[in-house]
């Protein structure tokens, strides 16, 4: 149950939390100026929502060692409750300002975590994973049954432009929604980082690493898990509430197993052992669902393969790969490694593009060969019924793999002569 490295002992983040928070604020302020179109700002808004969701998930996975398959229950139910309040504020005149809707979601996410988490967190490990899966299925099945609460197939929709506009902020433009989401995201990131530094946060790490030892010194692991679960539920609900304001619609898929799976997948891909890992993962989640799904029909396959490869080779995720890079680049003799590193990178690119070409060719051959249009890929058009494209793809895969083996060996030999113990990413 051990993620690769404890969160709090991270030298890159722990020392200068405030610097990183200022950096994040600057990034968030700068982003809407660079990406000014409404579509780009919508993507940025989704990133903020996903960041809070993935960070809250990592309180369970990375910091508590609790593998949950049902985190979307808390983001989703928080979103549903927030939507009901938003609707009531519009129709029944409840005095709830639109800008507080994420907080409403948070409170209800927390409430559901208090109730459901009591059952869930009594177990740990595999049984915990199973119960969360059962809970998620239960809630999803209910969402299709109780149509007056969940809105059935069509879901619920609301309107964020309502109530008196304070200082001219009426949430009509995407920029204003982005600003609100960014503010909430910044505060939530700060709070969740602060949580890792509290005694409860440290106890949670202890529960993850050795629950038995913790109970010997007088703490109740169950209780620590429960409290952490409630806190995670709150931030999940905030994320759900922000999603309500952004999308203005909630459908049953927000509590679905696919959504829970996506949180797990991308939090892990980002790196559950580091605080910044889930942030990277969340950005990847939005980018892949918005961009990758446009580029390729096979994007879920790529995602699955990437995930399996990551679990096999770099269980610390993207964050651990970044840290690994920093570690060797900062070596005094790093210049000796560069050419082998670039060789590795180049051959990896060649091999990956070969494999991706093969997958694209295959997809095209299976799905669209009857139409007769050639595949557009890498700026060229390819005829999938000719042997040539297939041979090229195979050639790229093989030479890339051979190059990788050659350069990696050289890299390792050079690294060994520099007399440093660790080898390879993340292990």
């Amino acid at each position: 149950m051990n993620p690769p490295r404890p969160v709090s002992a991270d030298p890159l983040i722990g020392r200068s939390a405030w610097h990183w928070m200022f950096f994040l604020a600057a990034l968030m302020l700068l982003a809407p100026w660079i990406f000014s179109s409404p579509f780009e700002q919508a993507v940025l808004t989704q990133m903020g929502i996903a960041i809070v969701a993935c960070l809250s998930y990592n309180i369970l996975l990375g910091q508590g060692g609790m593998l949950s398959f049902g985190h979307a229950v808390y983001t989703g139910l928080g979103a549903y409750m927030a939507m009901h309040v938003l609707q009531a504020a519009g129709s029944a005149g409840w005095p709830v300002p639109v800008s507080l809707i994420p907080l409403v979601g948070g409170v209800f996410g927390m409430g559901f975590a208090v109730v459901l988490g009591y059952v869930t967190t009594r177990r740990s490990g595999t049984t915990f994973a199973m119960i969360t899966l059962g809970m998620a299925e239960l809630v999803f099945a209910m969402s299709l049954m109780f149509t007056d609460f969940f809105g059935g197939e069509a879901g619920l929709s609301g309107n964020r432009v309502q109530g008196p506009a304070l200082w001219g902020i009426d949430f009509k433009s995407q920029t204003q929604v982005y600003a609100l989401v960014a503010a909430y995201t910044w505060v939530c990131v700060g709070l969740m980082y602060a949580f890792t530094q509290t005694p409860l946060g440290r106890l949670l790490n202890a529960v993850r690493d050795n629950a038995e030892r913790l109970s010997f010194i007088g703490y109740q692991p169950q209780r620590v898990r429960y409290l952490a679960f409630i806190i995670a539920g709150f931030f999940a609900g905030v994320s759900g509430g922000m999603a309500v304001l952004h999308f203005e619609i909630v459908t049953a898929e927000v509590v679905g197993a696919a959504r829970s799976g996506a949180y797990l997948l991308f939090t892990f891909l980002g790196g559950s052992g580091y605080f910044v890992g889930p942030i990277l993962g969340a950005v990847g989640m939005v980018l892949s669902s918005v961009l990758l799904s446009e580029w390729s029909a096979a994007w879920l396959l790529y995602l699955g393969v990437l995930f399996v490869a990551m679990v096999m080779c770099a269980p610390g995720g993207l964050a651990s790969i970044a840290v690994w890079h920093l570690r060797w680049i900062m070596q005094p003799e790093a210049s000796r490694l560069w050419r082998w590193y670039l060789g590795c990178l180049f051959s990896a690119c060649v091999s990956t593009s070969g494999a991706a070409s093969a997958i694209e060719l295959f997809y095209h051959h299976q799905l669209q060969s009857s139409v007769g249009t050639p595949l557009r890929w890498l700026g060229q058009s390819w005829a999938t019924d000719q042997p040539m494209p297939w041979a090229l793809a195979a050639l790229a895969m093989i030479t890339g793999a051979a190059g990788w083996v050659f350069f990696k060996r050289r890299w390792n030999q050079t690294w060994d002569t520099m007399l440093l113990p660790p080898r390879g990413a993340g292990s």
Binding site: R123, M130, A257, G261, M312
Partner: protein, 340 residues
């Protein structure tokens, strides 16, 4: 009455199918501590492979070859993937099977398309195995092999046929239960497996190749799932959502039965199959129960979703409801020994 009996038989046969899945899953879990998230994916793979093979060579070769092929794939997955992440602990192991489930789903959709494939049972399994003819009270119940004649089914007599595929499903599953039981309790290999369940280091020290035992257990477990897939796929529907449909129920079954307990998995499978099948057929709601008990009900309450929802409508959530209740009342499951 005859309808009730047929529903019960349908439920039990579905439960036995579930057991073919949960047996492998729970065996793998108790050996390696790995909850194989992709188990239902192997079930789906078995169904699709069975479909392709049966259109080439017929149903019986497919019934034998598809499980063999999938079992080999499973063993290969254990050897080259699962074993390599074993050192990192249980979470990466669970995650890699989770990733595999994604990949298998996509590959299946790529190879066989996103729509359901027409995987029909062979002609000798089409039609009913037997028919129950009832005219009212139980005493009049008649039993006819195969389909009943038109004349026998004239009202007031009611005919309830029991499909041959269901009977075949029951026969194969029971044969599997018996041979699995015999293998584990009466052979040398079974002895090693039993020992490796609890004391892998000791068994290793005695000179047995425990990793290889693990590999073959994984292979056999996934092969059984594929066998269930060939039968289930031809009886029900073979489409890309079949893994998700069966997968979560299988997890519920092994948790209710008690993680790592084969006997528990058996009884929980039969229970869950029966509950799911019977609930769909019962069109009663809470308000019906209320009035049957002779209790008064306010008009506002009588119209609420909770009171008017029939058991048939609530059927999809029953397994999960039972799961949550079981975990609250008896966390180790029906026959489990460990507390999780």
């Amino acid at each position: 009455m005859e309808f009730f009996l047929i529903s019960l038989l349908n439920g039990v046969s579905y439960g036995l199918l579930l057991f073919m899945l949960s047996a492998g899953l729970t065996l793998i879990f108790s050996m390696m501590g790995v909850l194989n998230f992709a188990h239902a994916s192997f079930y789906m793979l078995g169904a699709y492979l069975g479909y392709s093979l049966s259109s080439l060579w017929g149903f019986v070769p497919a019934l034998i070859l598809a499980p063999l092929g999938v079992g080999l794939l499973g063993a290969a997955f254990e050897k080259w993937f699962l074993r390599r992440v074993h050192a990192h602990g249980h979470v990466p192991e669970l995650l890699i099977t989770f990733g595999l489930a994604y990949v298998v789903l996509e590959v299946v959709q790529l190879l066989w398309g996103r729509a359901a494939v027409p995987f029909a049972p062979p002609t000798w399994l089409q039609g009913p195995a037997f028919t129950l003819i009832g005219g009212g009270p139980f005493a009049d119940l008649q039993w006819v092999w195969g389909a009943a004649s038109e004349a026998a089914c004239q009202p007031p007599a009611l005919c309830s046929p029991f499909p041959a595929t269901r009977a075949f499903m029951m026969a194969v599953a029971l044969a599997m239960v018996l041979s699995l039981w015999a293998l584990i309790t009466h052979t040398r290999v079974g002895l090693v497996i039993q020992a490796a369940l609890t004391h892998p280091q000791a068994v290793q020290t005695l000179g047995h190749n425990v990793p290889r035992v693990f590999m073959w257990v994984f292979g056999v477990g996934t092969g059984l799932a594929a066998l269930a897939g060939v039968i289930g796929g031809s009886t029900f529907v073979t489409d890309p959502s079949m893994a998700a449909t069966v997968g979560t129920v299988t997890f519920v079954v092994i948790v209710i039965g008690g993680l790592g307990s084969l006997a528990g998995a058996f009884w929980a499978s039969v229970l869950m199959g029966t509950v799911q099948t019977m609930a769909v057929a019962i069109d009663l709601s809470l308000s019906d129960l209320w009035s049957a008990l002779g209790l008064p009900l306010q008009a506002s309450a009588a119209d609420s979703t909770w009171m008017t929802m029939s058991l048939a409508q609530a059927a999809p959530i029953l397994p999960y409801l039972i799961l949550v209740l079981m975990l609250m009342v008896r966390p180790r499951g029906l026959m489990g020994t460990r507390e999780g």
